[in-house]
Symmetry: C2
Subunit: 236 residues, 2 copies
DNA sequence: AAAAATAAATGTATTTTTTACACTAAATAC
DNA sequence: GTATTTAGTGTAAAAAATACATTTATTTTT
């Protein structure tokens, strides 16, 4: 038994993969291996298969094209312009992944044709992928202001200056070091480690790590990581 | 030219339609007119057609099944469990609509088989529609805490007590009248009218209306309509 | 016409949060 | 041992959020 006389469509997932290398935000792209737009830069995408959900499809595609596994991955939204793909109509459900670039650098370089691009040096993208990236970035800015989501972009141990760079980079603002530290520490999300990171200063900055329990319990809370003042910049 | 050897699927939109009648939140449902689950209660749904986007499909479905037009309508997310519809696999993209029940009461009663249900007296719904409603409600609570979205549920002229009932109803909390009024007025979203609504008290409450300019310019701002204290209730 | 009843409207003091702002501390390089 | 570099820290002022009770406008009742 089937629904008769109804249109059936291709459904794809496209992954917007944001990474942070300690200094900058980057986007992971691949050169598309098949027509149309062969060799052009593209998000990681693939068609949904019969036995998998969209979430599963996104995980699979991400893994097949980059080797990535168990990373933060979340549905963004569906894109559905009938002619977004010139070959045939495809409904695309976009997913956003956040990863620590250094953790996977080797693997991505070695085995796949994916490449990291700085956010302000993106090449031309196929189809409506540029729009997807813009939507994803706005969404990330929104979420990161309320939830401690940016930790997904950092290694397990990180320093307060790194954390601040992460926030400042996303909103392209400067924050006061003392106020930033106070706000972050007041969440109780951070555990101070005994060692220091000496790679970027003589004095060295203490490492911190996430308190996973607090993280899981408080993720959905509205935490106001970024002040309203700073956010208003986004609306100008 | 087509993508060969790829699975094609039915894609549907389902509309979660929230309404407010001045006292309570309600959900608009219809009795499904065809198998499977004929006669069971369902969200407004329909398959996407060849020439329309998902947004257009949602508008069309909403209009066909209820006569509603030009209402607040926004994509929620895609639901994709392979067996969510027992007949055949269907990818469903859920949309949320917000309307003022009284404005459309007549029309919905007269021409369609749709019916409003109080949120805590929902009948059994088909497929995964119950999950969609829960997701949509959580999403509405989230958004309404940050953006002046609940005005979509009110008539053009409304009173401060009505507005407070609207917020209190969504979060199932009591708010202080003086603090609530001060917060809402401080947004500059409200224009005081000269007339009073005398339907619910002897003294009567002044009508207010939305300042559309401020509304449009500030919608994306984070306005903190509901305090963090009150929101934490949701996470317990 | 006065009194009672009902819901709307309003202000202030206290606490909490956010902001603005500059010097000292630790380690290394020379 | 002096200079250099970045990390780390405190306090006062302003703004926002909270807790809390009486007066006002109008209608209904007597």
């Amino acid at each position: 038994m089937k629904y008769s006389n109804q249109l059936r469509l291709l459904v794809a997932v496209d992954c917007i993969i944001f990474g942070f290398d300690g200094e900058q935000y980057k986007l992971l792209l691949i050169q598309r291996g098949f027509a149309p737009e062969k060799e052009k830069w593209s998000l990681m995408g693939g068609f949904v298969r019969a036995e998998e959900t969209l979430d599963m499809a996104a995980e699979r595609v991400l893994n097949q094209l980059t080797g990535l596994k168990d990373v933060y991955l979340e549905q963004l939204q569906a894109f559905s312009e009938p002619d977004r793909d010139p070959i045939e109509r495809v409904i695309a459900v976009a997913y956003v992944a956040l990863i620590d670039i250094k953790k996977y650098q080797q693997q991505i370089d070695d085995s796949f044709h994916a490449q990291w691009f700085t956010m302000n040096e993106l090449p031309q993208l196929i189809f409506d992928h540029r729009e997807m990236v813009t939507t994803a970035l706005n969404n990330l800015r929104y979420k990161a202001a309320l939830h401690p989501i940016l930790f997904e972009l950092l290694p397990e141990k990180f320093t307060l200056p790194q954390l601040q760079t992460l926030y400042e980079g996303l909103y392209d603002i400067k924050m006061d070091k003392r106020n930033f530290t106070r706000k972050l520490l007041s969440t109780n999300l951070l555990k101070k480690e005994k060692e220091k990171d000496k790679s970027s200063s003589k004095k060295g900055a203490f490492y911190y790590s996430l308190d996973e329990t607090v993280y899981k319990n408080n993720f959905e809370n509205f935490l106001n990581f970024v002040s309203k003042n700073d956010l208003n910049v986004l609306n100008e």
